[in-house]
């Protein structure tokens, strides 16, 4: 009996230590913010938040989970996260269904590249229609005449094409399909634009990492991922013909060129299929989404302040880390718009200092 009681007391002590620690953390100076969403910018966000943790003297932990842009939007709508992250800006309908006003803050610029697994890692050229037909399953072999046409100097093998796409709700898919809808009528009619598509062929992977994983493991595979995923894993990616007829390499320069347009006040704009002659045709902003009014779900003013501070840091110093991970910095005029939007964030109606 004594042993039983003792063990109960011990268990009780352990449990209460954790609960106590949990409650105390609320009052303590460490703040933990939770974000979720796009895997498109995840390598960048991971790096940012790792740096931010040290920068704030181990006081602010930003826990970011890459569950796909769809997940980011959904979890923000459910008010389970402090911020969402998405490369597909919320539609008018999604915004209407949201419980309160949501602000979009572009955090970086990236490129969706077409990566593939072929012997000798050739550098291939693609056109928009070609990509659409490959990903619709209309072209099934690598040595198809249409691919040869654009790549006459390359020895294309007689391999089956295995398409890799996203199995989760993805902003990367949205950007990719948005581009294909604009350049291929067949794609527009048969598949369309969206975060989750009704794919006719191919294997599904979870997250940008999942798609890259499939391409990496399967000879003859082709997939669409954010540039850094291909780079970090030494996977080849192709040049894509843009609207003006130039074959463009995805890099910081061509992505920034694609973003040299006027951005509206709410920053919701697509920059695919750019008119810029040097612009990469599948570029995109990636956004952080937050509620304008931060007093929800039991949040306190400190948490709101921490979030605003984080957003301001992202809009300024964090941008210095973008380029080393091959994400372009947000243009200066967008930074100004961001500043305004961030300053509009309120707590109980009052702007947060």
């Amino acid at each position: 009996m004594k042993k039983f009681l003792l063990s109960l007391i011990l268990i009780g002590l352990i449990f209460s230590t954790f609960t106590f620690y949990g409650c105390k953390s609320g009052e303590e100076k460490t703040v933990e913010l939770l974000g979720a969403g796009a895997t498109f910018p995840q390598p960048l966000y991971n790096k940012w938040f790792d740096i931010y943790y040290t920068k704030t003297g181990n006081k602010v932990k930003v826990n970011y989970q890459g569950i796909g842009s769809g997940g980011g939007i959904q979890q923000l709508m459910e008010r389970v996260v402090d911020f969402g992250a998405t490369d597909a800006f919320m539609s008018d309908e999604e915004l209407k269904n949201a419980p309160a006003e949501i602000i979009h803050i572009p955090a970086a610029l990236g490129a969706v590249v077409v990566t593939y697994n072929l012997p000798d890692n050739p550098k291939l050229k693609f056109s928009g229609e070609l990509i659409a037909d490959i990903f619709m399953g209309k072209i099934t072999k690598w040595n198809d005449s249409r691919i040869k046409e654009l790549n006459p100097d390359i020895n294309l093998p007689d391999l089956d094409i295995t398409v890799a796409h996203r199995s989760d709700g993805s902003g990367t898919t949205y950007v990719f399909s948005d581009y294909l809808t604009k350049v291929s009528i067949t794609w527009k009619n048969e598949i369309g634009t969206g975060k989750s598509l009704n794919w006719k062929v191919g294997l599904g992977g979870k997250g940008n990492a999942g798609v890259a994983g499939i391409v990496q493991q399967t000879i003859g595979a082709v997939g669409y991922v954010e540039l850094i995923y291909a780079e970090q894993n030494n996977m080849p990616y192709g040049l894509i013909k843009n609207k003006k007829g130039n074959f463009i390499e995805p890099n910081l320069n061509s992505v920034s060129k694609a973003a040299s347009i006027t951005v509206p006040k709410d920053t919701r704009v697509s920059i695919v299929n750019t008119d810029n002659p040097e612009g990469y045709p599948i570029s995109s902003f990636t956004w952080l989404i937050v509620y304008k009014e931060q007093n929800y779900g039991g949040r306190d003013i400190n948490r709101a302040k921490a979030l605003v501070k984080l957003l301001k840091w992202i809009n300024s110093e964090a941008q210095d880390y973008n380029e080393q991970l091959l994400y372009a910095k947000i243009p200066d005029d967008v930074k100004k718009i961001n500043e305004e939007n961030i300053n509009n964030i309120t707590f109980s109606g009052k702007p947060i200092q």
Partner: protein, 280 residues
Amino acid sequence: MKKDNIKKRVFNDKLYRTFVSLFSFLSIIPLFLIVYFVLTRGIKYINLKFIFSMPKPMGEIGGGIFNAITGSFIIVGISALISIPIGILVGVFLSEYKEKKYIEIIKIFVDTLQGIPSIVIGIIAYLWIVKPLRHFSALSGSIALSFIMLPLVIKATEEILNLIPIEIKEAAYALGAPYHRIVLKILLPSASVGILTGILIGISRIMGETAPLLFTAFGNQFFNLNIFKPMSTIPYLIYVYATSPYREWHNQAFAASTILIIIVLSINLFGRFVEKKWKM
């Protein structure tokens, strides 16, 4: 004529024995294949740094899984704290009232609970806890896992209690002991070994569970002891790392799997050992 028939029958018999023995041995090969491949690829990446440091940002080399290790222990520990008392109580109930007609129905309910796919448990935990509280948390993960561990503890308790000879209870009654004392001070202690085995098997089971944690504990790159916040766990980490393209993460997934397999199989074996040693 008869001689040929016997030869054929004896031959068939030998054939049958060969096949059955062969297939039986073939069946345990996967165990060794899996353990061997995971251990050989994983063990070279395990060192003190791997166990005690935090993960590095995506794509960078190095880093460790300390947050996942502590996360797993905390989430499993709390889940055990929830499942053990409730499981024992229900087990006692099922054993003590076993003559009643409704017991069979409740037993079916327990069986059903055990058979629920773990992803559905994840959905329920999300609907019941995460969504209303607007919080991903280690605690919601623990609660989800306890749905899985509960039937295991219940069954172990019930089965071992049913094995206790009724004479012991009758003797205690004859001596005038009150009912609750009989259960708590006589029956349960006698059953303690069987119950402990059930608990250990339950723990080794939930330690390896991933699906229910996908929408509850969620994951965390940082070290976290706060059960009201998201927490990382080893199986979740293995899933995320294994399906990524990063070679570094693949290596870490194998290393983490090695650690997990060693923990899980050890607890499992220990449970069986305990049961064997104290078998009545």
